[in-house]
Amino acid sequence: MKWETVFKRVLWIMSAILLVLVIGILVTLIVQSMPSIKSLGIKFLWGKIWDPVNNIYGAYPFLIGTILTSFTALIISIPFSYAIAIYLGEYNPKGWLSNLLKNTIELIAAVPSVIYGFWGLSVLVPVIRSFEAKIGVAPYGVGVFTSSLVLAVMIIPYAASLGTSLIRMVPSPLKEGAYALGATRFEVIRSVILPYTRSGLFAGILLSLGRALGETMAVAMLIGNTSAIAHSIKDAFFGPGNTMASVIANEFTEADHTVYLSALIELGLVLFVVTVIINLIGKKIITKYTNN
């Protein structure tokens, strides 16, 4: 066979391996969570009690924990992501200050999550503990609120950098038209730039959400790892909890029988499917947006 053909074949095989890899991940997760799916059924998802010692498995505490931490983090991060995107995209797109800020924001994403977790554990947790004592909730220090704060910082770069490049792509005739009609800078941003980039900015938020849902180490170190459901909303928010990713990280190597292990894998499967869907929707919006 000619070298050219061999080379083309190799390229093709490498790409095909990628497909096999992704399908393999999905199949492995499904096959390995079969024992749990079979013995626990669909009610696994809203079972309120997770008690491996007595062989009771319910994913509800982790679903709640994951949703609560991710969405709190997202809500905290949105004003900052938008502000960065508007500043770097519209107010100050060029120059050294703009570059410096852009690179600094990107460094936030570069810091390993285990370092955020360690820092949070030794610096943030005591601060939060005294704050909690002041507002009159049980001063755990660790918990959903603490994890959300750290998570919020960690996910800002994803939405911010996408938002920046989208806002820079807004055609200047549109903005100039608005200025010509006598609009102020704020009015141009509010009535031209933001509506024009709305779906793209939304996609950026989806990508941030995907990160937040799957983030493991920082959350596992800061959330306090309790699989019980809190009694009040206040406790659920400030008290310790667990997310899908953190419970997998903490209990996977301890899981000593089939259904226990399999229940953890089913959590992983749910996490995988949810993050993949969120990411693909985000990517789809971006592609559609940048093509038009």
């Binding site: 080379f7 390229l11 570069a110 999550s113 977790g117």
Partner: protein, 281 residues
Amino acid sequence: MDARLKVRNTKSIVFKSIIIFLAFVITIPLIIILLYIIKQGVTQVNWHFLTHVPAPVGETGGGISNALLGSIIIVALSSLIAIPTGILTGIYLSENATTRLAYYAGLCVDILQGVPSIVVGMVVYFWIVKPLGTFSALSGSVALAIMMLPIVIRSTEQTLKLLPDSLKEAALSLGVPYHRVILKVIVPCGFAGILSGIMLSVARIVGETAPLLFTAFGNPYLSAAITKPMQSLPLLIFNYATSPYDEWHNLAWGASFILLMFVLLLNIFTKLITRKWNIQL
């Protein structure tokens, strides 16, 4: 100026101030974290720290040589797996953008990019750890290679797409065979872009902990055997940070400092390369 105009102008100025405030205030947590790690870590690092294994609880001293060696071996092994596969797949995607395989492979890259790292660790546990019957550095490298792949593929694809077609056409018209055109003309032209993707992916995986929890697992002793459990910097930080001992916390601070410096330098260095090449990763 009439009153309404004044209100509108004030609104605009207030809005701008809020935006500037929010945009810059978020750098404060980063700066605080960086300074804190440097303050806690820099005093730990010395020659002894780099060349000794962690001391048992109760003894002072000790270092992180097992984690350093482990990180180097694991990352080198994952690069060995992910870089060739990633570059070849990237070439395929840029050369055959319209085929059905390219569409699905591109979709897979997007999926891989979003997979939570803990899930990758779990899957590799069933692929390698369970059949071999032991945690191993090799399984950790495979898990990290899976995390590396999408970044290497995308950066290769993006870089090669930026190169002008005339480059390839000129080489082909001289009668150079296709594989030589790609390997000797196209890839060298896009070298800087591909390299920056590789460096970025290394920076990303060197700090990954979650995929290693169930694969490389960690090891308190110095080990270079890739079929045995192996320590790595992020694993050491996680295990010692969550321990109750101050001595171990200090080791973790030192390890955090070294890891952080490595990641930051790699990122800054990558920035310098990408500045020349307008690459979106």
